[in-house]
């Protein structure tokens, strides 16, 4: 599989959120429930990735 294509799609997948943020920033309520849930999931994903990598790192020591 073409790695460049995969990279382009991953870049696009990331930009989707960035662009959507600009697009809807004038009309969304930053205090809404959906917004809170999205933030929770976003933080959980970041922590999950780093916790997993940290566990692998400790196993290698």
């Amino acid at each position: 599989m073409d790695l460049w294509l995969l990279l382009a799609l991953c870049g696009l997948a990331t930009y989707l959120w960035r662009g959507a943020g600009v697009l809807v920033s004038s009309g969304i309520d930053a205090k809404s429930e959906v917004f809170t849930w999205v933030s929770c999931v976003a933080y959980a994903i970041i922590a999950g990735i780093f916790a997993g990598a940290l566990a692998l790192w400790l196993l290698k020591l």
């Binding site: 990279l7 991953c10 004038s26 933030s39 929770c40 999931v41 959980a44 922590a47 990735i49 780093f50």
Partner: protein, 229 residues
């Protein structure tokens, strides 16, 4: 755009902010080399994805030979934080003198590091200067990170695997410290704590889907804990 504000952004980034990313992307470059990603792809991922967790998923999923759709969904979910980050920053930057496309370029330049510093710096900057300041600040960070990715890749043999990961971890640890005083502190603390537990647990259920499953379950758990009873 204000040239003076742009140059001020460049100056302010060329210190601790650039140094911490230099270390982080040295580590990322070395990890990418170890996982068999070609050098140009590794450097391009820093510019095109411009989000360390997403880039780590890209590299790890390639090493695991995960299906295309799984990789893209995982990267997409790991990048979901850019929506609330952009939503929080945009009202501070909007100005009648700017063009719409300038906001969409800014969105690509945004990272956790740039966002953290912008949130702290904007109250002291006149609204009209913020966009130019951020362009200068973020461009220094992107350039430093791209060069560090290449340097880490080339020098991978001289870095022990433990050191490579330690370098990558410096970045989130550093920004977690800065963010600990943030406005949405309770969301950040609960989300991070639940994710740190749910992520590794999900790995035992399904390694390929662990990022997605751990994030959704951990995030939803944090959301339920947050809700007033």
């Amino acid at each position: 755009m204000g040239e003076a504000a742009f140059r001020q952004g460049v100056r302010e980034a060329a210190g601790a902010p650039a140094a911490i990313l230099l270390a982080g992307f040295l580590g990322f470059g070395a990890l990418a080399a170890a996982q068999g990603i070609p050098l140009p792809v590794a450097v391009a991922s820093t510019v095109l994805i411009w989000a360390l967790p997403g880039q780590l998923i890209f590299v790890e999923m390639h090493a695991l030979a995960a299906p295309l759709a799984v990789t893209i969904v995982a990267v997409m979910l790991s990048s979901a934080r850019f929506l609330p980050m952009t939503l929080m920053l945009m009202p501070e930057i909007r100005d009648a003198r700017h063009r719409a496309w300038q906001y969409y370029v800014l969105a690509q330049l945004l990272s956790l590091s740039g966002w953290t510093f912008a949130v702290a710096r904007f109250p002291q900057l006149p609204r009209a200067q913020r966009l130019a300041w951020f362009y200068g600040f973020a461009l220094v960070l992107v350039a430093t990170s791209a060069l560090s990715t290449a340097a880490g890749y080339v020098g991978a043999d001289r870095l022990a695997p433990a050191v490579q990961l330690a370098l990558v971890f410096m970045v989130p640890m550093y920004y977690l410290l800065i963010l600990s005083g943030a406005v949405r502190e309770r969301i950040a603390a609960l989300g991070l704590a639940c994710g740190a537990v749910a992520g590794p647990l999900a790995y035992f259920v399904t390694p390929q889907w662990s990022v997605v499953l751990g994030g959704l379950s951990g995030g939803t758990a944090a959301y339920l804990l947050l809700r007033p009873r």
